[in-house]
């Protein structure tokens, strides 16, 4: 109930800010104030607020709990992406006057067809990014209300489309800035409180590498999907019906729907496909995706995808349009780096404490819930309830700001770039986008939030990143080169992603190359654009368009 109240408050405050947060001036002399530019600080906060999605608020902590410290590289990549944005994109993008990536494509290469192609890619990226947001929101609502997951997802879809329709994003800058504060405060305050109240013992356990993980008390673990478990030492568990089942050390299969009660002090079993909780592999800060046995490659590939992908995320680039000058746009992006750096100190806290207090979450498919579940486990009673409410509200704020921003970008793209409808049917497009995202989010329960977001980044890195980098810094890019490169990048990266989502592949190099396609699709897209461009000639005005991007 408290959580619902907190979520409701965040929602109501966002709506009020969104509708009435435009600067109002009552006398003529206030015209000047109204027309003065928005301060860069607000803009930085708004960008950070939109950027910190459910992947950062819920997903990261869950990943740390499930896959280990190596997943912190995701956060590093999310931040490093903004260094690339500062260095390569922010200023020139602002100077082009382009509002969206398709706008930029049209500016630089002068082709309405390329604009449509880019519009299609925007759609793919936005959907890949939206689905995990809805999953996160559905999860939070499911946790705080006890209603089934699908009810939560549907509810989230309704909330976001109604709030956009009610004009809740008319003043997007202030809403998103408010959401940054909500996310930071509602994650940081409980984190600090939890650290203090966990006790010296638990703190030491949380920070000790290679010590494995044990259940602190008798723990019921509910398996909502069939799972293969590796039990490190013989344990006797209570099965669904209450009868005792001795489990020897080794591999056991647990059927879906089974409830096992592990006794206090028992070692936490290891589900197939993830490192042993708290074990050596878990404790090493490297990412071994797909169990290929090459953690450094996995880490680098992820870093590449995320750093370059951040540059190509359509809703990120849109926000630089709000800056009055290119110079401010760059400074705004630097501000974002600082704000992200502060925020990313906290998800790890939840992951590390989660290993000590809620190791059961690493077993089922529920690791994404650790941020919301943890506070009540550490601090029982009323304070725990309040903390849970705070975290849930923060997570919901993350969902709300990111998905509103994404939906508006998606709807804008749909109405403007693809259907060229004379009157943009924005509201309709928002509703349609929400519906599609909700429909995909329903069966996406099993997929980790961060994996999905990682795919969105991989597609962005293989398509818009080369388009923007070459478009901004290379005079000879031609229309043919850009179009071919975009197509090849989009087809290979979405193909790889779709294959690894659908197919059940054996661990190995093929799996890792499909799950982390950026390592080969990004160079492929760059090479295609360069080679095809070199074969043709760029038009006369290409250099003018390029030089304008860098004119001081």
């Amino acid at each position: 109930m408290t959580s619902f109240l907190a979520i409701g408050l965040v929602l109501a405050a966002s709506l009020v800010i969104g509708i009435y947060g435009v600067r109002a001036a009552r006398t003529t002399s206030d015209f000047l104030i109204a027309s003065r530019k928005v301060a860069p600080g607000w803009n930085s906060m708004a960008i950070a607020g939109e950027y910190l999605s459910a992947a950062s608020v819920l997903g990261l902590a869950g990943l740390v709990l499930k896959n280990g410290l190596g997943t912190l590289w995701y956060a590093v990549g999310f931040t490093a992406g903004y260094v690339a944005v500062v260095a390569l994109v922010a200023g020139p993008m602002r100077r082009s006057g382009a509002f969206t990536v398709p706008d930029f494509a049209e500016y630089r290469l002068g082709s309405p067809r390329l604009r449509k192609l880019s519009g299609c890619i925007v759609l793919v990226i936005m959907l890949l990014y939206l689905v995990p947001q809805f999953k996160g929101a559905g999860l939070v609502l499911h946790l705080v209300s006890g209603a089934p997951y699908w009810v939560g997802v549907l509810l989230a879809g309704m909330v976001v489309s109604v709030s956009i329709a009610a004009g809740g994003m008319r003043s997007a800058t202030y809403v998103q800035a408010f959401h940054y504060v909500v996310k930071l405060a509602f994650l940081a305050v409980p984190a600090v409180y939890l650290i203090v109240h966990a006790g010296a013992d638990a703190r030491a356990q949380a920070l000790e590498p290679d010590r494995g993980a044990v259940f602190r008390e008798d723990t019921v673990v509910e398996f909502n999907v069939g799972t293969r478990l590796e039990i490190p030492e013989p344990t006797t568990v209570a099965a669904t019906g209450g009868e005792s089942v001795p489990l020897g050390a080794g591999v056991h299969d647990v059927a879906a729907g089974e409830k096992l009660t592990f006794p206090a002090g028992a070692s936490v079993p290891r589900p197939a496909g993830v490192p042993e909780l708290g074990g050596e592999e878990w404790s090493r800060p490297l990412l071994d995706t797909g169990e290929a046995g090459s953690p450094l490659f996995g880490t680098w590939s992820t870093l590449l995808a995320i750093t370059l992908g951040a540059m190509g995320l359509p809703h990120v680039l849109m926000r630089f349009h709000t800056s009055p000058t290119a110079r401010t746009a760059r400074r705004v992006a630097v501000g974002v780096i600082a704000l992200l750096g502060v925020f990313y100190l906290f998800p790890a806290v939840y992951g590390l404490l989660g290993r000590v207090f809620t190791p059961r979450l690493a077993l089922g498919e529920a690791s994404d819930t650790v941020t919301v579940v943890l506070p009540a486990e550490v601090v029982p009673g009323a304070p725990g309830t309040v903390l849970t409410a705070l975290v849930a509200a923060g997570a919901f704020g993350a969902f709300l700001s990111t998905s509103s921003g994404l939906l508006l970008a998606l709807a804008g793209g749909l109405s403007h770039d693809l259907f060229s409808g004379s009157v943009p049917r924005l509201r309709f497009a928002v509703a349609a986008g929400t519906m599609v995202a909700v429909l995909i989010a329903l069966p996406a329960f099993r997929l980790d939030i961060n994996v999905l977001v990682g795919w969105a980044f991989a597609v962005a890195a293989s398509t818009f990143c080369p388009l923007l980098v070459l478009g901004i810094w290379w005079r000879r890019l031609t229309l043919a080169g850009a179009a071919t490169g975009l197509t090849i990048g989009a087809v290979t990266s979405t193909g790889a992603v779709a294959l690894s989502a659908v197919a059940d592949l054996e661990p190995g190099w093929v799996t890792i190359l499909l799950a982390q396609p950026a390592a080969w699709t990004v160079p492929l897209a760059f090479a295609t654009m360069i080679v095809i461009s070199l074969l043709g000639n760029e038009p006369d005005w290409a250099e003018h368009a390029l030089l304008r991007l860098h004119a001081p």
Partner: protein, 128 residues
Amino acid sequence: MKPNRRVRVTSPQTRIALARRHRPGQHLLPMPAPADITGARAAFRRQRRIALATMAGLACLVFGTSGLVAALPALDRLQVAGVPASWLVVGVALYPLLLALAIVHVWRAERAEQGDGAPPANDRLRHG
């Protein structure tokens, strides 16, 4: 007195264009050349050099630290204030370094822009 209901009015061209489902291919306005093309080329090359340097720095920073963590497993066991050193590097230490890299880039890029004899930012804002 009951006020009259407002009526929506547009020009005939707009009315027809709005009623039509698909608009014709947009006309592209011409792209004007920059006033000082040699200066603009020089500014472009300067900015490109700075951007390349920053990207190289970024690559060194993130790939370097991850390589370091991979090469030196001892970092996991080395404790700094009770926290494994490798965790601190990934979880905390990288962020200020990334911020510093971005600040240096902005500083260099703005100095290069000022070098072109452009008016200072404040001045330009006032004149719109």
